[in-house]
């Protein structure tokens, strides 16, 4: 091929020939087999190596194409086709689950971040206090009363607690903790939180320490509350130490402990 032919073919491929030139070009393709051959190779090369084009095969009766077609049609291949379809569905389903989970996690995290940044804007000095308040509110205490026992002293105390009459509630809790029939761990929790609410922080600290040292199932909860007490006391270093032990042992609220630890930094 000479340079002239080459330029002509390139101009055709990039559609830069005039109508008249194009007509002549097509005519030559139909009559000059050697020119047609050159053109075909050039076109194949151009369309293969340009990233936006694709070089198709026009001859459908091509022997190799027919051979592959037979393999695509056979039962074994059809079986694999079905398997691939199933595997695709399996994979996509898993991905969907993952992304919804991720999304809801991000939304929750964003909300938490927003709430705390608002606290910080409103009053930076009180921000740690607010952290404690919001965590206290968030953490649901188990109900003290067992079913059918609405009339006893503990029920009264819980009611007072719910109405934020902490001092009055404390009087009852302090008495009831002596009764071996009562659920000790829960009473410790209520007692400690009540003490926190009326700023008897040293006492609250002692109450939670008792819970921690008890052999009770709920003993680990004491650590979480103790950490909150320390924050309220502004003893951030001590609070962090406890939070780290919670995270290490993966006990009650360890995920929240991680979050809280970040907020303290």
């Amino acid at each position: 091929m000479n340079l002239e032919e080459d330029i002509l073919i390139q101009n055709y491929l990039t559609q830069s020939l005039s109508e008249k030139e194009k007509k002549d070009f097509v005519k030559r393709l139909n009559t000059d087999t050697s020119f047609k051959e050159k053109f075909t190779l050039e076109e194949e090369m151009f369309k293969s190596l340009n990233k936006e084009e694709w070089s198709f095969i026009e001859k459908k009766n091509h022997a190799e194409v027919k051979e592959y077609e037979t393999i695509f049609e056979n039962e074994e291949t059809k079986e694999i086709k079905k398997i691939l379809k199933k595997e695709n569905e399996k994979y996509q389903k898993k991905q969907n689950k993952k992304s919804t989970k991720k999304r809801s996690y991000y939304i929750a995290a964003a909300l938490v971040a927003l709430v705390f940044s608002l606290y910080n804007i409103i009053n930076t000095k009180e921000s740690t206090q607010n952290i404690v308040a919001s965590y206290l509110n968030e953490t649901e205490l188990p109900s003290i009363i067992e079913r059918g026992e609405k009339q006893n002293e503990l029920a009264k105390a819980q009611k007072l607690f719910e109405n934020k009459e902490y001092s009055k509630a404390l009087l009852i809790f302090e008495k009831e903790i002596q009764n071996p029939k009562n659920p000790k761990a829960v009473i410790y929790l209520y007692t400690g939180v009540s003490q926190m609410q009326i700023n008897k922080l040293e006492e609250a600290n002692k109450t939670f320490q008792k819970l921690i040292e008890s052999e009770l199932l709920d003993a680990p909860k004491g650590k979480w509350y103790k950490a909150l007490v320390y924050i309220k006391m502004n003893k951030i270093k001590e609070a962090k130490e406890i939070l780290n032990t919670i995270i290490k042992s993966k006990t009650y609220n360890f995920k929240k402990a991680k979050q809280l630890l970040k907020e303290l930094d």
Binding site: L49, W54, S55, Y68
Partner: protein, 186 residues
């Protein structure tokens, strides 16, 4: 290290755990590519299945060897299949998919042979001199001669034209000599 044959065999045998592994490692890249190039999620799913099926059929017929790694090869096949789809709709007047891609055996067979043809051209491009490769890559990317002059620091467009012409001649010569290309012409 899992070799390329390991994945091909697992595909032919329909091994679920390995197919899931292939999906995990490769599908994210493919869907990203399709989304960036005018496609949607379901296009990406179709293309991925087509590509895997293409590998199975090709392996069944000729026990072919993947010269690069499996991941890279699979991605190339996916990219080419998507390029092919985009160019198909360019040729057609309507843009709608009127049939399931994966059910058209003749079309899948054509795509496979076209992929093999593409491989010949890309392989040969790697065999010519670095300088020629650089010029031709610019040329095939439809850069103008003035751009080629600038990039290659030639003295004029005439020189650039002559260089492109010579490099292309080298490339076509290599392609024409290749046995696989000859058999495609039959």
């Amino acid at each position: 290290m899992k070799d390329n044959l390991f994945y091909l065999k697992a595909l032919v045998e329909g091994k679920s755990s390995i197919i899931q592994e292939i999906y995990q490692k490769n599908f994210p890249k493919v869907i990203k590519f399709v989304l960036q190039n005018k496609g949607n999620k379901s296009d990406a799913e179709d293309i991925f299945q087509l590509a895997l099926l293409q590998l199975v059929v090709r392996y069944k017929k000729e026990k072919f060897e993947i010269k690069s790694n499996f991941e890279g090869y699979l991605f190339t096949v996916c990219k080419n299949l998507w390029r092919r789809e985009l160019n198909k709709s360019k040729k057609k007047v309507t843009n709608t998919k009127e049939y399931e891609l994966i059910d058209d055996s003749e079309d899948m067979a054509l795509a496979l042979v076209e992929q093999k043809k593409w491989e010949i051209f890309s392989e040969k491009l790697e065999l010519i001199s670095e300088n020629c490769k650089k010029i031709l890559k610019l040329f095939f990317a439809k850069k103008t001669y003035s751009k080629i002059v600038e990039a290659m620091q030639y003295s004029s467009e005439t020189v650039a034209r002559q260089r492109v012409f010579k490099c292309k001649a080298k490339l076509t010569e290599l392609v024409k000599k290749d046995k696989r290309y000859k058999s495609l012409k039959e």
